[in-house]
């Protein structure tokens, strides 16, 4: 049954022209804008990564001066975290959550518009610093004082951009919470929500709890720089290490803000292509909640080397280890979902399976660094760079790619080109490993992170890593081609799209009308999550 086919289908008119986008209150249009924005920023951040890998292709300084290199590492991180992974996740949430819970739109559509339109302004501010006296911020995305206080004219721009990004995220989170709590269709109980919706509720609460902390930290830095306070200035009685504590109280949950929606996407895709219900649905919900809860008690594992009491080191080490338990529950549930399933390997499934395997590598290296004495060896080396790129690229970005391939036939009404999709996957999965796996070796051999030049002993693996980076980077242009081709045409997608797909969104036509669920659907166990 198609719930969108109602008597007033002929009223399904949409605004036209630029105002459709500027003044949009439609969750689908806003979702599209978030996704396009994230894709553009993916190439902006990717270009910065290319500069980094080109400079590191050989030892010695080849292309850029060290300050600009440091700006590239800093800006690459800020762009990829706040401009790509977070907006792409919110874009998918905007498209999918109302359709998944049977709501006509997001709860607060005008605030939804504002949440999105803050982003281009925030990134204009941030990226404009590349052209400023003193250069763009170069002290690392963690913005530690006193180093970051040496930033030139760019500092207030950085701080204001972070504030704007925080406001945007908080408004997005409020919208998601209000939508899921207040707008669910009759019969859509919490334990019938699709896992993607569950992971987004938990992510939204994480955002509410942590973004104000980041905003507070950078506000204090602003007053230290311009208004004579000494929050983090030892000369005035402050404590620079306190910034690190406050930053990582935000920063560690932020990791889960980036990865929990990815868990949700994968939890939608694996059951669909294994043609089996998700194994252990309830335990998946509780595991996601447990991961989020524990993420507030592990922040100091990022700063073992600053020196802290032994009891503190032990507490944060054991707390970090404990996160492996709910994460393990999720990994094993995904494997059990696939076990003896009638699996097929379309592009979304390929990316999702690669996610499970490669994210696990990132998870395990995280555990290695969670061991305090071992971290003294790994800290600030390329080992950590390899670790977080396995988590964020083969983890978060692969899941986002999987999500786009999974849902784009629903959004556009056209199937994407499966052959090209598989080419994109194999190029990505091979060269992302060529890019990041050697960085483990470099880190273990002692190569520090955030350096534009290095000892010749690191030359070979750096060259391999750079080659992987160039091919992985350029192969993403194929993704853009596939998406554009799919939007412009292709084989007609059915309403259900995938044989094993279950859930409310698959009851809608492909593409769904501008306004969906004008009659609320009645949700039963049969129409609930797969």
């Amino acid at each position: 049954m198609s719930y969108a086919t109602t008597h007033d289908d002929h009223h399904d008119h949409k605004p036209t022209g630029i105002t459709r986008w500027l003044l949009s209150t439609n969750h689908k249009d806003i979702g599209t804008m978030y996704l396009i924005f994230a894709l553009i920023m993916f190439f902006v951040g990717g270009a910065m990564a290319m500069v980094i890998r080109a400079e590191l292709f050989q030892p010695g300084l080849q292309f850029v001066d060290p300050l600009f290199f440091n700006s590239m590492t800093t800006m690459h991180a800020l762009v990829m975290i706040f401009g790509v992974v977070m907006p792409a996740g919110v874009g998918l949430a905007n498209w999918q959550i109302p359709m998944m819970v049977g709501a006509p739109d997001m709860a607060l559509p005008r605030m939804n518009n504002m949440s999105f339109w803050i982003l281009p302004f925030a990134f204009t501010l941030l990226l404009s610093t590349l052209f400023m006296k003193g250069g763009a911020p170069a002290g690392g995305w963690t913005m530690y004082p006193p180093l970051t206080l040496q930033t030139g004219d760019a500092l207030p721009f950085l701080i204001f951009a972070v504030h704007l990004l925080g406001i945007s995220s908080i408004m997005g989170a409020i919208n998601i919470i209000a939508t899921v709590f207040n707008m669910r269709a009759p019969g859509m109980t919490f334990m019938r929500l699709p896992l993607f919706v569950w992971t987004w509720i938990i992510t939204a609460f994480l955002l509410i709890a942590t973004m104000p902390v980041l905003a507070g930290a950078v506000t204090m830095m602003l007053t230290d720089k311009f208004f004579g306070t000494s929050f983090f200035d030892a000369a005035g009685g402050g404590d620079p290490v306190m910034f690190q504590h406050v930053f990582w109280f935000f920063g560690h949950p932020e990791v889960y803000i980036l990865i929990l929606p990815a868990f949700g996407i994968v939890s939608q895709i694996l059951p669909t292509f294994a043609r089996k219900p998700l194994f252990g649905y309830e335990s998946m919900v509780y595991a996601a909640a447990a991961i989020a809860f524990l993420s507030f008690f592990v922040w100091a594992h990022h700063m073992f080397t600053v020196g802290m009491p032994l009891a503190g080191e032990l507490f944060f080490m054991y707390a970090t280890m404990s996160i492996a338990v709910p994460t393990g529950v999720k990994i094993f549930n995904w494997m059990a979902t696939m076990w003896k399933g009638s699996m097929t390997f379309e592009t979304p499934m390929l990316f999702a399976v690669a996610f499970v395997m490669l994210f696990s590598i990132g998870g395990f290296t995280g555990l290695m660094m969670g061991i305090t004495p071992a971290d003294f060896q790994y800290h600030d080396t390329y080992f950590i760079v390899a670790h977080f790129h396995y988590v964020l690229v083969t983890g978060a970005v692969f899941a986002l790619m999987a999500g786009v391939y999974f849902w784009i036939p629903k959004w556009t009404g056209h199937m994407y080109d499966e052959t090209l999709g598989k080419c994109h996957f194999w190029l990505s999965v091979i060269f992302v490993n060529v890019l990041f796996f050697p960085q483990h070796f470099l880190g273990l051999a002692g190569m520090p992170r955030r350096i534009p030049d290095y000892n010749v002993q690191f030359a070979d693996w750096n060259m391999v890593s750079s080659i992987g980076g160039f091919v992985y980077g350029f192969s993403q242009l194929l993704f853009v081609y596939i998406v554009i081709k799919c939007i412009r045409g292709g084989a007609k997608a059915t309403d259900q799209v995938w044989e094993g797909a279950h859930g409310l969104e698959w009851t809608l036509p492909s593409p769904p009308p501008f306004h969906t669920f004008t009659i609320p659907p009645q949700v039963t166990d049969a129409t609930a999550h797969s």
């Binding site: 709501a103 006509p104 709860a107 607060l108 605030m111 908080i170 989170a173 409020i174 919208n175 919470i177 209000a178 709590f181 207040n182 707008m183 669910r184 269709a185 009759p186 509410i208 709890a209 973004m211 104000p212 902390v213 905003a215 507070g216 930290a217 506000t219 204090m220 929050f231 009685g237 402050g238 306190m242 406050v246 669920f517 004008t518 009659i519 609320p520 009645q522």
Partner: protein, 42 residues
């Protein structure tokens, strides 16, 4: 929304509930922001 079979309209009551939710969560976020700064005042 317990409006089974009826138009899926955003009633004034539902809109008010959504606004209330937004204001409450927004105030909590603001309290976290101010709290963390105040906590660091010496």
């Amino acid at each position: 929304m317990d409006q089974d079979g009826q138009a899926n309209k955003i009633t004034p009551e539902l809109a008010a509930k959504n606004r209330r939710t937004a204001i409450i969560i927004g105030l909590i976020a603001l309290a976290f922001y101010a709290g963390f700064i105040l906590m660091n005042l010496h």
